[in-house]
């Protein structure tokens, strides 16, 4: 009996120890990192972690004497990382550099709080001003000053479809809303779920809605919503809400129990025909579901957004109050170089933010997207924090979550409008 007791105590004790040690390895690093470059991100998933490691390896090769550390925080599309970042920034203990989406997530928070150094000099030295698209530089600038370096580009307005289903039923991937509903009706008649949605986390529904907004309003007017030049209760926004409502009648019944991967899976294994998701879904199709691009699944811009590119860009900036700011700039230099971008992006499954990278390193989807990126109108994503402050996005997510069930356009527009007080 006594032996058992001691044994169980030992087990508990060793559990506690191991819990502590795993803790201390993540926080303990911070103590000694004053001279170290801690690269803060939420890239812990399969391809993205490899990309980050390749980038860090490249930096170590170039600057072997500068210690560098991967300080990624896992979990939930960056939710945990953002919470950790917020407490570090507010406690004046910023990481050397951190991942932040270009647009509002950068400009209306850390730049507005005067926590970021401007990088105009670095851009001039590196000659980047004509290497990134102008609209992209605008996305990481506030009042004419540049605050971060984009490393990759994801496209959010992509419609993924199951090629076999479309071929068997003699259908063509829809390019307009009319075509979309025509195709959806045809599929529904055959008993196939036309559109897969997984809104257990409500941002996926917001994601769908923003592509509809872009389709209905066009890029110029879409951008005007976020600057306040077009009201959120504008007729066109209402029209988009009506389209959204109609689209929701074609989704799988169990959408609220699925996340985006589960929804992509429905398309992958032929239970549903189409899915709107950012192009990280390609990585999921290819790497996790082992499907072949243009054979098992196809892609096309979401209806009526052919010349538009809803852009999500991960960027890194330089926080104020660091001792090793020059080292950070060296890292940003690698990050923004052709070599750095081509090391990171093929692994991550995104495309480079620079327009002069080596196209041959990318797969067919990457090549197509790089081509589109050069000529398309870039628009900031709402669901991913580029178009508007996170407070607004949170409220839109709530309004969308209610709308998906209730389908009350008037109420939806009303909540959007009252959330709009967040847009200054």
């Amino acid at each position: 009996m006594k032996k058992k007791l001691i044994l169980s105590f030992l087990v508990v004790f060793s559990l506690i120890l191991s819990a502590c040690s795993s803790n201390s390895s993540s926080t303990g690093g911070k103590e000694e990192s004053k001279g170290k470059l801690d690269i803060f991100s939420w890239w812990t998933g399969a391809g993205e972690e490899d990309g980050l490691k390749a980038l860090i390896a490249l930096f170590e090769e170039k600057y072997p004497d500068i210690p560098i550390e991967n300080a990624a925080v896992a979990g939930g599309a960056g939710t945990n990382a953002k919470a950790v970042l917020a407490s570090r920034m507010q406690g004046n203990d910023p990481p050397a550099t951190f991942q932040v989406h270009g647009g509002s997530e950068l400009n209306d928070s850390w730049v507005a709080a005067d926590k970021m150094e401007n990088l105009n000099e670095l851009y001039k030295e590196e000659g980047w001003n004509d290497k990134f698209p102008k609209e992209l530089i605008d996305l990481v600038s506030k009042d004419g000053n540049i605050y971060s370096v984009p490393v990759n580009i994801h496209r959010s307005n992509v419609l993924w479809y199951n090629k076999k289903i479309f071929d068997e039923n003699g259908l063509k991937a829809p390019t307009t809303f009319t075509e979309f509903f025509y195709v959806a009706d045809a599929l529904k008649a055959k008993g196939i779920t036309p559109l897969a949605l997984g809104d257990k986390e409500p941002w996926t529904a917001t994601h769908l809605f923003e592509t509809i907004l872009l389709g209905v309003l066009g890029p110029e007017d879409y951008k005007k919503i976020w600057t306040g030049d077009i009201a959120l209760d504008d007729v066109k926004v209402m029209e988009a809400a009506e389209v959204f409502k109609k689209m929701l009648t074609y989704v799988n019944e169990d959408h609220s129990s699925r996340n985006w991967q589960d929804a992509s899976q429905l398309v992958g294994n032929g239970e549903a025909a189409m899915n709107v998701m950012g192009d990280w879904a390609k990585g999921y199709f290819v790497n996790d579901l082992k499907l072949v691009v243009n054979e098992d699944f196809g892609y096309i811009p979401t209806p009526e957004t052919a010349g538009d590119f809803m852009v999500i860009t991960d960027t890194f900036g330089l926080p104020k109050g660091l001792k090793n700011g020059d080292d950070v700039k060296k890292f940003l230099g690698v990050l923004g170089s052709v070599e750095g971008q081509d090391a990171f992006n093929p692994l991550k499954g995104s495309i480079p933010a620079r327009i002069d990278s080596d196209v041959s390193k990318y797969d067919q989807y990457g090549k197509d997207t790089i081509e589109d990126f050069k000529t398309a109108n870039l628009t900031p994503s709402l669901a991913h924090g580029s178009a508007a402050p996170e407070g607004f996005v949170t409220k839109v997510n709530q309004a969308v979550n209610i709308f998906v069930t209730q389908g009350d356009v008037k109420q939806f527009i009303g909540s959007l409008k009252s959330a709009g007080s967040e847009l200054k």
């Binding site: 917020a86 257990k200 019944e253 609220s256 407070g391 996005v393 709530q398 979550n401 069930t405």
Partner: protein, 321 residues
Amino acid sequence: METVKPTNSQSVIQATRKKKKLSSDHLMALVFLLPSFILIVIFVYGFIGWTGYVSLSNWNSLIPDFSFAGLKNYLYLFTDFRFQADLRNTLFFTILFIGLVILLGLSLAILLDQKIKGESIFRNLFFFPMALSFVVTGVVWQWLLNPSTGVNLFLKTFGIHPKWYTDTTILAGFKWGQIEFGLPVAMIAVGIAAVWQMTGFSLAMYIAGLRGIPDETREAARMDGATEFQIYWKIILPQLRPITVSVIIIMAHISLKIFDLIYSMTGPGANFVTDVPGVYMFETTFRGNYYANGAAIAIIMLLSVAIFMVPYLISSRKGEA
């Protein structure tokens, strides 16, 4: 440790000696208690105070803003669709959860009390879910009650397919404020998972209670010709009342603060049918950066638990004195 009242001179001397000894004990106790006392005062009560302070401020973005906002954040919450839905969900979840945990725990305890064979095996079986974390329970039941997989594959053969936690119907609903007030069907699914986990706990409490009732009482009742049913209904159940009170208190504070089970099992749910204040607080604070709103939710949660805890603490103090 009552202080000794001196009656004569001899005992006075004894008492002072005792007192001296006591006070050095007392001092030692104080010294050992002090660190945890200070830590608790700062890190529990201090931060409750800080949260209360933040909840009255305008800090609703990444940039701290401690200007006084009065009750603005609270007023906002009580007109907010999501928070109203949270209150409704918490109410029904609490009723469902506590009711079932008591009912099942008590029935199982009475059954196990019939001196059956292998009682300890059963007791352990029922008690084991307690050892799991709510997160694990949440993930397991998310799969079990997934409408397109899980138990529905089995139920399909009988021609029924409940939508479980994806069901957005509100039973017996009527319009109240912004929301429809009634029993959210999806909450039943969450309730099942929570009851599955916590029934073992009330079972253990009740078994301990039943064991505390001397056999003589039952014997005496039997001698007087009471039926088994009468013995349980009139004699044993009334004696178990303190146990029931404890179970209610413990379950209430779990259910009012529940977060991990729901976060891992359903999230806020379509139309917020499975959302609870804990989830809302987390999302609005750490996703939306509405720090003051989040703090206000925290304070409301604290007060709602206090409604249960304070009377209990007061009555147990009275019992001590």
